[in-house]
Amino acid sequence: MANELNYANYDFDDAVDQLIARLQTNDATKDTYRSSTGEMLTELYAYVANLVLYYIERRAEETYLATAKNKSSVINIVRALNYTPKRKVSATGYLTFSINTPIAFNIFIPKYTECQTASGIKYVTFEDTVLLAGQSSVTVAAIQGEKVLIEQTADGMASQEFKISSDSVENTNLRFLVGGVEWTLVTSFINSTATSLHYMLRTELDDTVTILAGDGVNGSMPASGSTINTIYIKSDGADGNAYSAGVITTVNSILYDITGTVRSLTVTNSDTFLGGDDAEDIEEIRYEAPRVFKTGDRLVTKDDYIAVLENYAGIANANAWGENEETVPDYTMFNKVRLVVLLENWAIPGASFKSTLSTYLYTKSMMTVKYEFITPEIIYVIPTLIVKCDKGVSLADTQDSIEDAISALFVLGTTTKLGVSKRISDVIAAVEGVSGVSYSHVTLDIYKALDTGSTYDYYDTLEAVNITTGSVRLYDGTTLMATDDGGGGWTSEAGYTITGSVDYVTGVIAVDVTGSIIGTVSVKYTQDNGAADEGDIVVTKKQVCALQSTLITSIGYVS
């Protein structure tokens, strides 16, 4: 309508058009030229209006979770959902301290004993322990990071604040002591009395932390002059994950035996240190907060489990299911919930991680529920392509873009998830969505390096079944050694004699090789899913597709 401003149109030209239309209805002007005084004033007004409306729109955007762009706005919005964005989270695991020759005295290994890797990543023990007389080793729980102690003095005022000016304060392991007495962390002072030794934490917009004490009515006030000790772990977040055993090699702290004699111990990690994660960024908070809020802090539905698991530090993707969702419903599972989780960088959780995670989940779950952790299976995919491009485009640049587009389809937790099949149509769409690509032919090969066997030279089980008959190729490095004959046997290539079998239904593969092996023995094959899912990789609830590599066998111009 000409006589109304359409506030949705923030465009300068629209504003000018609407203002002129309005002026014309009021007989204010008969005609307008860009050079007229009236037009100049109208445009000046539209320019100012456009500028003001732009900032109004920006402000409006900051009030909604979906559109907010500043981290400060996102944090403030999710506070209303009782969601506290995670700070850096430290990896956890176990350290084993050893002594070459056992001695006749106990050696104390106190909490916060510091060790480190060759690259300088620090870890501290998380409990007091003792290497007993006569023993050669002891294992103790540990956490990545270094202990930091801050000493301050209370001023006796209400609602005192104690700032920690570090953005690496570990998410959960912070202690607040007033006059040597440890206070308790609460999320609100609403149930605190004047004598409650409670404190709150506030993560600041710059990722530093402030400790809040009570006002003497809700929550006790630290008395004037009392010593405030804040102890926290300075975390390296995701950089602190140790993905292999034996990387923590140095004891930094001095250890004593019961006689006060300094003792030299060695240290190692017999398992991985996992679960370390960086502070949540805006997009993670935006995604996680509503999902976690929806759970009501209780684990009831499948979505609840997945939301809470994926919000747990270090977990990149998770799946959960019960008895009804087994391919054949398994009512002997009773109240058992099966969980499968994958950590950042495709790491598979170890025993200590699963133990800690279980403890956490039980605080939110129904009373009778039991958990069973299922080991995830990673299906390594090699999209194999023939590509035809429009004339004139750079083939090298197009190939790079295709590889990037395919990589984007295999981002764990985002574009590839546990229990979600990989559709060939998505891969084709990604390839043909690249500028300059005219058309393509795509095959999704599955790759697996074979384990050595006892009865056979190589023996393994291919997880992604059924296998397409005649599609299994056996390689020594990149050299083709044999293909399956379509009947469960092998047809050898020149230079090799291969015997053994392939079971297309169970995926069991057995190989005996006559001839020298130079590289990794592996197979590539395709999955037979029938007409409905032809060309796709159909996974089970515990399986996830990962990108092994992209193989472009041919790229050229359309004829």
Partner: protein, 124 residues
Amino acid sequence: MAQIEVWSDIHQDFKKDAQGGLKKVINVDSVMTSIDNILRTKQGERVMLPSFATTLADLTFDPMSDNLMGNMAKEIKRSIEKWDDRVTVTGVQYFQDPDNNTVIIYLSFTIRGYSQTFNYKTGV
């Protein structure tokens, strides 16, 4: 007899009319206002329309010469005819006034729908 209002514009002095409203100029006066706006606006000055008006201001510190005068005349004709298609410039005369660092410009032009030639004088 009142003129038929074909074109109208706001009076540049922002005066009140007899009814207390903003005084308007119409028809030929409106065109004159338009020419005045084109010549008195420096190119780049107008918001969202930086190409509007003339580049005369760029010539401020050029030495006075016939060449400069010629360039000014061309620029005036080009810009007026570009920004106001009601006007066809038929002549540009200029007189140097070195004592006042000014060039007096006389324009003669026709206006679409009018048979006579109009004149306009300004100093730059």
